[in-house]
Amino acid sequence: MDQNEVIVRVGGAAGDGVQSAGLIIARVFSRSGLYVSTYNYYQSIIRGGQSWYQTRASIRKVKNQGDDLDILVALNKDALERHTNPEINEGGASSLKGIVVYDKSVGEFKKFDGIKYCEMNLGEIAQKYSKNSLLKNTVAIGAIFGYLSMDFEILAEVIRDQFGGKGEIAELNVRAAREGYDTFVEKFGKATKELKTPKKKLYLLAGGEAAGLGAVRAGLKAYFGYPMTPATSIIHYLASHEKKFNVFVKITEDEISAINMAIGANYAGVRAMTGSSGGGFALMTEAVGMSAEMEIPLVVYEAQRAGPSTGLPTKTEQGDLLQVLGASQGDFPKAIFSPRNIEETYYMIGEALNLAEVYQIPVFFMVDLYLAEHYETVENLKFDFDMKRGKFATGNEKDYKRYEFTEDGISIRALPGTPNLMHNEDSDEHDEKGDVVSDAVTDPLIRRKIMEKRMKKLEKLKKELPPTPSYRLEDAEYALVQWGSTQGPVEEAVDILRNKGIKTGAIEVNRPYPVNPDILKLVKGKKKVIFVENNYTGQLMRLIRSELNVEADLITKYDGESFYPGQLAEEIEKKIKE
């Protein structure tokens, strides 16, 4: 076990309480002041199958779930054999090299070398406290924190929080955990090395929650959506905080309604957004163009999962970039954001909401299942927000024109309720005043001018793009290009390769569109440029290469899992040597 970090996996079937056990473990680490990153592997079923929850805790900042398992909690025989078997390489993670805690009721099973098997009477201990079979998970959790010599009081606190205070159930769980803690140490001893636990105030949250909280910080007043994994974590967070934040949350009859409502609310002057995954977003497509044509601000939270079609509902992928880019007919200005981690999700959603209102365009905020659902620690979050809402008319304007041709293409909005400035906002092509030019006498000159007016906003967007971020790129010989949530494994792969003397660095695209021409400068002089993407065809590579002349290689992963840093480093090395 690394002195500085530990990786724990809880494996079992759906309904075994894998996720809640995993979350308790993760929270104990984060409350102990350790940086945490988790990964939830689950299936689209409520009972049975295989699921596991991996938590990496470290005294350094961690941005992914890590490779080598130190501790396995196996909640059934299948999990026990699966996660200890070096032949089964779940999603790319290495199998266990440390200890495994399991209940003796599993019976006969296959053993592998290099693993310390810690068989316990988890079920028997649990039965002393409750008939609820899930209590044995608590015993096992106690056991691993005994092994790690961590402060039991923090575990007790987290359990009490989880089970709602100091009630009987909470106390039974605390006592069961204590017995697990002591029994393990008695029987198997402690880990030879002890994790330092710095006193840091860290918070552990998922991407969907970060996006929700970040949006509220940025003045969100309404969210419209329809449940679709993995765009549900933001809905759950906002819906359960509706009254606290005074944010209107509406679950609609379909995604078409959701996006039309979000546009309606924005039209009336309320900061509103909608969200879905690829399938639901497909239904929203037509209204995206309406937002552009009517110049009504819109932010769409798009949480990708593996497609096509229903695809892998509970698995991650970055396969929707070109869908989002191409959504709706015609040419129009738009912007795509792809935050790289949970902290950036919290801040960037505010930028997206500002941008949509200032430019009066549709803005897409793209995350993926991994980013939306995995938990990560954040610290020192800022709460103040520089709200930018663009131009609003007051009613005193002379010769007001809703779509006035301006230098930068942005005109002044007059919200309904404003005196004197009544006008029509139309999905039909219109002139400066909003009067339709599409029906009786189509006016080619006006059509050209209004198209150019809207497209000026894209030019302005391009001019105002912030520099593309990078990681250890300056002296790098090889540049990796990533977007969105793959930042964690890519940066760690860079570190692994540099430790081996291979000078790599990363270009991190957190705003895929409009394409930032500074990427050309960043790749200049590099021996190789390799795109790393969680999809089949390299969609970011295709987008960037459609606008910039960049020669590139591609590493992809489309098995539904996120990248694992060790395995990725190996693949990069192979690609470099090709």
């Binding site: 984060s30 409350r31 105030k201 918070y203 552990l204 949250l205 929650e209 909280l213 509220v216 910080r217 003045g219 007043k221 309404a222 419209f224 509706e242 009254k243 934040f245 005074n246 944010v247 209107f248 509406k250 609609t252 009859e253 078409i256 309604s257 959701a258 039309n260 409502m261 979000a262 546009i263 309606g264 609310a265 039209y267 009336a268 002057g269 309320v270 509103a272 209204a287 309406m290 009517m294 979050l381 709460f383 009613g395 919200l415 309904p416 309720g417 005196p419 004197n420 400035l421 009544m422 006008h423 029509n424 906002e425 139309d426 999905s427 039909d428 009067d435 339709v436 029906d439 009786a440």
Partner: protein, 283 residues
Amino acid sequence: MVTFTDFKGTVKADWCPGCGNFAQLTAIPMALAELGIKPENTVIASGIGCSSNMPEFMKAYGFHGIHGRSLPAASAIKWANSELTVIAYGGDGDGFNEGTQHFYHAARRNPDITYIVSDNQIFGLTTGQASPTSRLGMKTKTTPDGSIEPPINPVTMALNAGASFVAREFSGDVKHMQATIKKAVQHKGFSFIDVFSPCVTYNKDNTYDFFRKRVYKVEDEKHDTSDFMAAYKRATEWGDRIPIGILYENNDMTYEERDSVLNKPLIKQPFTKVTEEDLLEFY
């Protein structure tokens, strides 16, 4: 004082001469003016179709969106700013084909908006195809041998869905329609008016004459608008006698009244300040 002419737009309506929509273009502003509702506080939201061009021809805040989607936009506009009077307007193709599920769900939600459908039983803007309310056997460009699909009954659908105000009107009687629109706008909740609005160009079956011969006013027959079953019975009446007027009305709570966040117009609510306290649940 608000007058009819305050709502007069600068663009001349380009519907076919004799189109039923002209009656609505008169009746809606008349009703609003009588209620003293100012154009600046009125939003007309529509979808796509001949009738959906209405916002272009009225002086008010117009939202001319996409086919079938006027109701989601109209509902959200109301929720964003409940001080506005929001009227959704469109045709039978728009409302009862692509918009069907929005219609049904808007009715059950009961937002305080008015939905007026110009029901001409045909697609006009796309030059004469069968619509969801085209009668069985009707010959159109897409049903050369006559429609083989029974039509939708928008009024029973609204009743089934739980609409709190359901009415039917006829473009041939502007005054009567105007009175009903006035009541619909005054009604707290989702009010629906299905207007027989003849298409003089493409529908040779359901003409002004056809309706004039058949319509009767429910209030002349002591109809009780609080009696759901009586309303349902009238709604299914078809043939020699077709009822117009307010068929049903109740005082159910509106969506805005049920949702505590909407008790005050969203647009007037201050932005929420996020603090460290909001992070405690993640500790």
